[in-house]
Symmetry: C2
Subunit: 202 residues, 2 copies
């Protein structure tokens, strides 16, 4: 379902977010609002399936998108994308099958982009390309840090970091998905939480 005129507030959210990275001219703002298809998805919607071609990237305005793999019949959650985060599937615009799934685990409102839209936008507004570069660099550096953190931290340290950086996730996300995201079993996660609670109360 696409938002019609009712989407204005949502589109303002996108512009507000992008303005953190550079001054957005009135013309670029209008082009972004026109081109971005703001869509809303019900909880449980699968946006991308393993084996399927991916021609859409997402900017989460409200809600939560989860990425997961199925390995030996088990779901393995690798990431959660919430407000102001963007999701570019590995296979986006590449005509190769995706190796993972994307699912809305809450009712979600997102800006949706396609490769064609992007090309058109960059041709009309070269400054849009500067914006994309700045955004992508920021995401790249964050990812680099996330991977390094994941490697050097113990499971308990990973949980504490999550508590600090994304406390909302702990409330929003089912425990078994959170455990998988932290690279531990649900039992280990439960032990970590008990241990921390005990330490707090003593």
């Amino acid at each position: 379902m696409e938002f019609g005129c009712g989407g204005t507030k949502m589109e303002n959210e996108i512009i507000k977010y992008l303005s953190k990275y550079m001054t957005i001219s009135k013309e670029l703002e209008e082009a972004i609002i026109e081109s971005a298809f703001i869509r809303s998805y019900k909880k449980g919607t699968i946006l991308l399936e393993e084996g399927k071609i991916s021609n859409e990237c997402y900017f989460v305005i409200k809600g939560c998108i989860r990425s997961y793999y199925i390995k030996d019949g088990n779901e393995m959650t690798t990431d959660f994308f919430t407000e102001e985060q963007s999701v570019t599937p590995s296979a986006y615009g590449k005509n190769i099958p995706s190796t993972y799934y994307l699912e809305c685990i809450e009712d979600t409102i997102a800006g949706v982009g396609t490769p064609e839209q992007e090309i058109e936008m960059y041709q009309k507004f070269p400054e849009g390309e500067s914006l994309a570069r700045a955004l992508t660099e920021t995401i790249m550096v964050k990812q680099q840090d996330t991977l390094a953190d994941f490697k050097i931290a113990s499971p308990e340290e990973r949980y504490l970091k999550l508590l600090k950086d994304r406390p909302d996730l702990i409330q929003r996300v089912p425990q078994y998905q959170l455990a998988s995201y932290l690279g531990v079993t649900p039992e280990s996660l439960s032990r970590i939480r008990k241990r921390l609670l005990k330490r707090q109360s003593s």
Copy 2:
């Protein structure tokens, strides 16, 4: 040490690499060659230290740069950057102290960029920005996959994937650094290798 005219061959390597992403005009090519400071570093050179400001990013033409943290007095290796890979420190151009180290673990030749150079280049050549966006997107997607792989794979699977994707690393890198990079102890890595050898021979 900077390469003078002798750097031409090295600079051609950079142009060849960048041409994979878009057509490089003669003017842009000349600007890249002029702006990129090709430098050579001896094995053991520390390019960045924990706590220091980072104002350089690197494109490896030949050699290997390792990123590592020091945690509780121990080195924890998080990545290796070899030929045709670029290293943008998390703190690059941000005036905040780095949380990790970068070290040349081989004699290394690299193109070195600074934030000032980048800005000047993008102003003169807006297509340079397209190039940077395309490059950064590719790196971002690869990193995303690396993190997901790291989460869902067992240590043995990680080792097998490394054997397949970057077989050279296994020869080039000290075993204790490789173990840390794979998120296992040197003893575990040694057990994994023995197990695989045994399986091959039986």
